[in-house]
Every structure is written in C-alpha cells, then in structure tokens.
C-alpha cells in the first residue's frame, strides 16, 4: 500500500507525543542522535525519524560539531506554537488554576500578617 503523503506544519509536528517527548529532551540541550536515543530509551532510527519531521518544520536545527551532528530547539520557530497555546486551546483553564494558587497565597499571607 502506498504511504500516505503528509505535509507538516509546527502544529501537527508537535501533535504527536513522541515528537513532544523529543522536544522536551532537547529543551536547553544540544544533543546527538545517540545521546537522544539514550535519554529517551529509543533506538536511533526512531530518533532520526522524528528528528527529521521536526527539522522539516524548523522546530529543531542541526549543527556539525567535529565528527558529530548535534541538534537543538529553534526557540524562534516555537513562537507561533506558544502564541497558539496562549491564545487558544489552553486559554482559560490554566489561568483559573493560577487564580486558585493566588487566592490561596494571599489568604495564607493575610492570616500570617494577623498573627505577629
């Protein structure tokens, strides 16, 4: 059966849990395929397959370092994703949770102030 041709944008690239795991492993790190495989407990072809998709949409960039290729997250390309998360899907629920934390904090604070 012919493989379905897929075109990716940053949004469907990160809709896949393995690729999110890969991005999380790369947060703040520059890693080689073998280091990623070790960190995630995957084989190298699996790492390469998902890296390829993330590279296509520019979420991950590749750099040569001596004999090795290292990969890191392209924070600039994450910006539209970040805006999307902020404006849309996750809009109110996390804010309401943050409000709960704030209310707990101020009330604890006010009680502490009352008792010297």
């Amino acid at each position: 059966m012919a493989r379905k041709r897929t075109t990716y944008d940053p949004f469907n690239a990160i809709a896949e849990p393995n690729r999110r795991a890969l991005l999380e492993a790369l947060a703040g790190n520059s890693l080689t395929v073998s280091a990623l495989a070790l960190a995630l407990g995957w084989n190298q072809p699996k790492v390469s397959k998902h890296l390829q998709v993330l590279k296509e949409v520019d979420l991950v960039v590749e750099r040569k370092e001596g004999r090795f290729r290292v990969y890191r997250v392209n924070a600039q390309a994450m910006k539209p994703v970040q805006e999307w998360v902020t404006q849309f899907q996750a809009f109110w629920a996390p804010r309401l949770d943050a409000l709960g934390d704030y209310l707990n904090e101020v009330q604890t604070g006010e009680q502490t102030d009352d008792e010297p």
């Binding site: 902020t86 996390p94 804010r95 943050a98 409000l99």
Partner: protein, 168 residues
Amino acid sequence: MTNHNHVEPTIITREYNAPMALVFAAWTEVDRLQKWMVPMPGVTCEYVYASIEVGGTSLHKMTFPNGNSMFLLTEYEEISPEHRLVFLQWPSNEAGEKLGNPQMPDWPKDMRTTIKLSESNGVTQLQLIWEPVNPTAAEAAAFEASRAQHANGWGSGLQQLETYLSSL
C-alpha cells in the same frame, strides 16, 4: 444583518476556598490581576494601562521565560460587584491595536468571556463562559473544531507542552 450561527459556549467551572469579594477583586484590581493572569508558570504579567469600568479597556503584557512577549486588550461590557463580569478580549500589539490570528485565520474575531460568581459556606463557585460574538459560519466552525480537539486528548499533552515552553 442578523447572524444566526449558533455556537454552544465553552463553560469552565471552578471552586475556590475564598470569599466571593476576594475572587471578584482578583478579577478587577490591577495589582491582583498582575499576580495571576498568566497562561503558564514562569510567565509574568504587567498592565500597561487599565480602566476597569463599563466601556473601559485594559492592556496587559505577558513576558515568557524565553523573552517573547504578547499583549492582550480587554474591553469591559459589564461589571456587577461582586457576582458578574463580562468582557471581550483580543490579542493585540503593544499599542493596544487588535491583531488577527495568523495561525488560525477563521478563529472568531470577537470572543466574549462572562464570569459568574456565587458563594456558599465560604467557598466561591466560579463559572466562566467563553463564546464567540456573532460568529460567521467559518468562525463558528473553527470554535467548534477546537472543542473536538480537546476531546481527542490533545489536552492531555498540553500540560507537558506548557512545561516545555516554560523551560525555553
């Protein structure tokens, strides 16, 4: 022309262990809003200006750990202490000019949020109603589609994504 595209609003409810007056103040006083009106931990919120009264507007800036920033413009339609607050909100630039949503061209231009509060035994019930204002058919469909995505479990991955975004 009257628009008849009906959309079920998204309704989120929460209970807070706090008196209603404090919850209402948290929504209507700038020094309190700045402490919590953020989409995820690690983001800071700062109001550029705020006229929190009927017909008034506010503009707040959110700054992400990686330095990216975003602005939201809010226009208040109804303020009924201490039980009801209605406002419209738009992504905007730093001058408070509304921006479109390039990622989602059909996302409703105007979104209305209604906050309803009630209190019993020191616990405040909050109901948040989120809905498009007079949506076009395409906007109604985009709003509906977002709900379907939630139900498909994309929501469960969101927490991780937020954690990740915060670490950038």
